[in-house]
């Protein structure tokens, strides 16, 4: 550990951590589909990161390091208490859609439908899928973040996409989404 690190995180480190909050929240939300819990997890990850700058060996890998911390926060949460995550929690997330223009209503309903299907996936698949799809991590990086062999990353991703394809293909085109939105 560098002695200088004892004098606190650099301004650049703090700035980058601060900028990562939204990313961490989005990822946490995609993992648990529970807005307050996602907030807790993201905040917990940020606090842990801020007190552990010395453990970040390569500043270029800040994003994957933060994601690994977030994954640990979620794992700790599950260890402590059986998760109450579930599809029903999704209902709380939806904003009031009644006054939205039809176009954005359709988009919201589509997003909600996709989230519901993602929430049905086993957590391991959900994490791999969202790290790849939302954050654009390579398979190798996902393996490092979740401490998984790359073969497991690929097979989980494969199963996740297979599970999603059927339910979601009817929604793939904007026109299909709109038809459903107006019933």
């Amino acid at each position: 550990m560098s002695f200088l690190r004892l004098f606190g995180p650099s301004a650049e480190f703090r700035r980058r951590i601060e900028q990562s909050r939204e990313m961490l929240y989005r990822l946490a939300f995609a993992w648990c589909h529970d807005a307050p819990l996602a907030d807790d997890l993201a905040q917990d990850a940020l606090v842990r990161a801020l007190t552990r700058e010395a453990q970040l060996r390569d500043p270029e890998r800040l994003k994957s390091w933060l994601c690994a911390i977030l994954a640990n926060c979620l794992a700790d949460h599950h260890r402590r208490r059986r998760s109450h995550e579930g599809v029903d929690a999704l209902e709380n997330v939806e904003a009031d859609a009644r006054d939205r223009p039809e176009e954005s209503l359709a988009a919201m309903q589509l997003a909600q439908r996709v989230r519901t299907e993602v929430a049905r996936l086993p957590l391991g698949q959900r994490q791999v899928l969202t790290l790849v799809d939302l954050e654009g991590f390579s398979y190798a990086a996902v393996g490092e973040i979740l401490s998984l062999p790359i073969g497991t990353v690929m097979s989980r991703l494969c199963r996740a996409r297979q599970a999603l394809r059927g339910p979601l293909m009817g929604f793939a085109s904007p026109s299909a989404a709109r038809i459903r939105s107006v019933k």
Binding site: D34, P36, R80, N92, A111, V114
Partner: protein, 238 residues
Amino acid sequence: MSTMDRLEDVSREMQNAFVDGQLDAAEWSAMLERLAEDAALRRDICELRAAKDLVRGAYADVKPGGREPLRSRGWRGWGIAALLVACVAAGWTGRALIGAGGDDGNAGQGAAALRDLTADRILVHVSSGNPETLGTALDEVEDLLRGARAAGRKVEVEIVANSTGLDLLRVDASPYLARVATLRRQFPNVTFVACNQTIERLREHGVAVDLLPGVHVAPSALDQVVKRLQGGWVYIRA
């Protein structure tokens, strides 16, 4: 079905790797050749790509909301640098620093560092409801308080609980009701703070939260941690 036949040639994992840009140059070229001659494979790839786009789109607008964002609380004033300088001045070693950041899996690691601390204002962050972790944290806090009192040293200790760690301060869930009450009675210099975010979350799930008498409530554990760090407190994670 024709899809199954084709999978013998191009595995689903390879299809996904193609969609995710994870193939090397040779594999990429081979896949392009197959795509040129296989309409069903093209359809499969299209569907995988659509699924990927749908997932990405479904979370694109997800942003922290409903609660005051960290940013607006003035992160620029984050006092952790001052805190760490204070820790070094107080003889807090690198070992203690690592302990402060310890995982919950290493129960008590952070608390073990507590004994050696000579700082006078210490925040202990409890986010695990594991009775062993909670018990160790209470043991260490009590040791610290007794040691300081015996040495005539003035210390302030604040225990901030969130997530499942909030159990410590809940009348209906705390495994250490009597201990917390005794600690409060014996040491007026220890305070207990509950995270309101966790309380709200529990209430949203239909759990009534009844806190022990005298427990303070902060908007969030992080708010409280930030506030204390800015005030020069030492942060320890139990």
